[in-house]
Amino acid sequence: MTERAWRNWYLIPYGIWLVLFVVAPIVFLVYESFLDLDGHWTLSNYKSVWTPIYLKMMAYSFWYAFLITLVSLLIGYPTAYWLTKTRHKQLWLLLLILPMWVNLLLKVYAFLGLFGTYGLANALLKALGVGPRQLLFTDFSFVFVSVYIFIPFMVLPIFNALEELPPSLVDAARDLGASAWTTFRRVVFPLTLGGVKAGCQAVFIPALSLFMITRLVAGNRVITLGTAIEQHFLVTQNWGMGATIAVVLMIAMAVIVILTGSGRKEGSR
């Protein structure tokens, strides 16, 4: 084989994979979204999306995803910041993201015990004199568990952005008389915005489509777009409607990604 033939050969298996598992599923999903329960061509699914039930669900879904992203950022940024200041930072970072490798379902399951009526959280509340509260199956437990799951995805890109920040810039700001806070606000934060964006994307998009957390710890009180898709595909078998919600979600995601830009590139600038 010539050099050129080799190069083209690599494209064949990879191209087949791209067509079969990236292009085809999207095409089928869009196609299915135009089918009704009997398999007839229809636009009714897209009409249903504009009914109050689905609009409300979408609004809730976005609101919760926003809340989860915001809380993750508020907790994650200081974590990443202080992590870069530790002596063995790579090791600490590894320890922080180690829980990511624990099966997601197990972590969520653990909260059934932690947040249970007699669990540790309620024991703590009791000791503080707040008394036992209903924690499980509430919006609070949903947001808390989601933030718990997503924190590493927020910390990692911010940590990398902070690492790439030249320390001389911070020194220069301090030498010129800026206070620690001003230095942070005017120099450190703007220069790590790329990492923040990447982190927010990495949290917001999956947060839109959670369904196992809502099922397990939010007691079906919180219905997100993810829950709705799962419901339509696996429970009510209304694949057309499920596909329509998936298509709407994909479009929404694409818009978000385009609006916020690619965070990674800016982070390394």
Partner: protein, 267 residues
């Protein structure tokens, strides 16, 4: 490094405590002779015996490991070929288009991947079960391997290849003698990432698994929906120890490769 402020330490300590709390909590109660995740009664290994004598569960564990190893191996091969394909494409626009398509499966939420794969397998007439789970695990691991191998490939000095070619090496000899050994750390890292993604995946598997076939995540989900059972705790402790071994392996390899890259993406 500058000295850390005291409250920075406290802050990190709290974050770490919260991150590890659920895992420690699970492990602690796996030894509880009482049946719940509160009121520790006395130490017992009963739940471990339950797990180890549960044939159905052991088959599921075996399924999970077989799917993970097979899918990671195939995805690594496909991913390396993919990275080489992208690397050799000369036109920047084609390259960007390929990378954009590559990233679709990384940025898409699991539910959408699951639902669209379910459609794919149904339309293609593939029976749901082992095959469909294996194929989808391969499918979502390929782009990760590509993304981990490609930077290393771009980093490789072209003079290395030129030198080999000048000395008369064929393309295959260049590939097997120069390029692949150079890429080895990132290929291994990609393999481990694929392995952990496959072991960890729930949402996609949940969609494409049939009635007869189950993986650990799916099994844990259906058990957890029925409430607390301490055999899940015992199982989680065993899994945690196993994962630790994997992570240590991955860490050692990625240290050789220079940095901890590519972590994250799937949840």
């Amino acid at each position: 490094m500058k000295r850390m402020q005291a409250w920075g330490r406290v802050y990190l300590l709290v974050v770490f405590a919260v991150m590890y709390m659920p895992i420690v909590y699970l492990m602690y109660y796996s030894f509880n002779s009482g049946g719940a995740m509160h009121d520790f009664q006395s130490f017992t290994l009963k739940w471990y015996r339950d797990v180890l004598s549960d044939d159905r569960l052991l088959i599921i564990v075996l399924n999970t490991i077989v799917v993970a190893l097979l899918s990671a191996a195939v995805a690594t091969i496909l991913g390396v070929i993919g990275a080489l394909a992208v690397y050799y494409v000369k036109r920047q626009r084609t390259k960007n288009a390929l990378l954009a398509l590559n990233n679709v499966l990384i940025v898409s939420p699991d539910v959408i991947i699951g639902a669209s794969f379910l459609l794919l397998f149904t339309i293609a007439g593939i029976k749901l079960g082992f095959t469909s789970v294996l194929l989808s695990h391969i499918a979502f691991s390929v782009p990760i391997v590509v993304l981990m191998v490609l930077p290393k490939l771009e980093e490789m000095s072209p003079t290395l290849i030129d030198a080999a070619r000048d000395l008369g090496a064929s393309h295959w000899q260049v590939l097997s003698g120069v390029v692949l050994p150079f890429l080895a750390p990132s290929i291994w890292a990609g393999f481990f990432m694929a392995l952990t993604y496959s072991l960890d995946d729930f949402a996609v598997t949940f969609f494409v698994t049939g009635n007869g076939f189950s993986t650990l995540s799916v099994e844990i989900y259906s058990r957890a929906r029925q409430g607390i059972s301490l055999s899940i705790n015992a199982l989680s402790t065993l899994l945690f120890l196993f994962t630790m071994l994997l992570v240590i392996g991955y860490y050692v390899l990625s240290q050789k490769g220079g940095r901890l890259y590519g972590i994250g993406g799937r949840k």
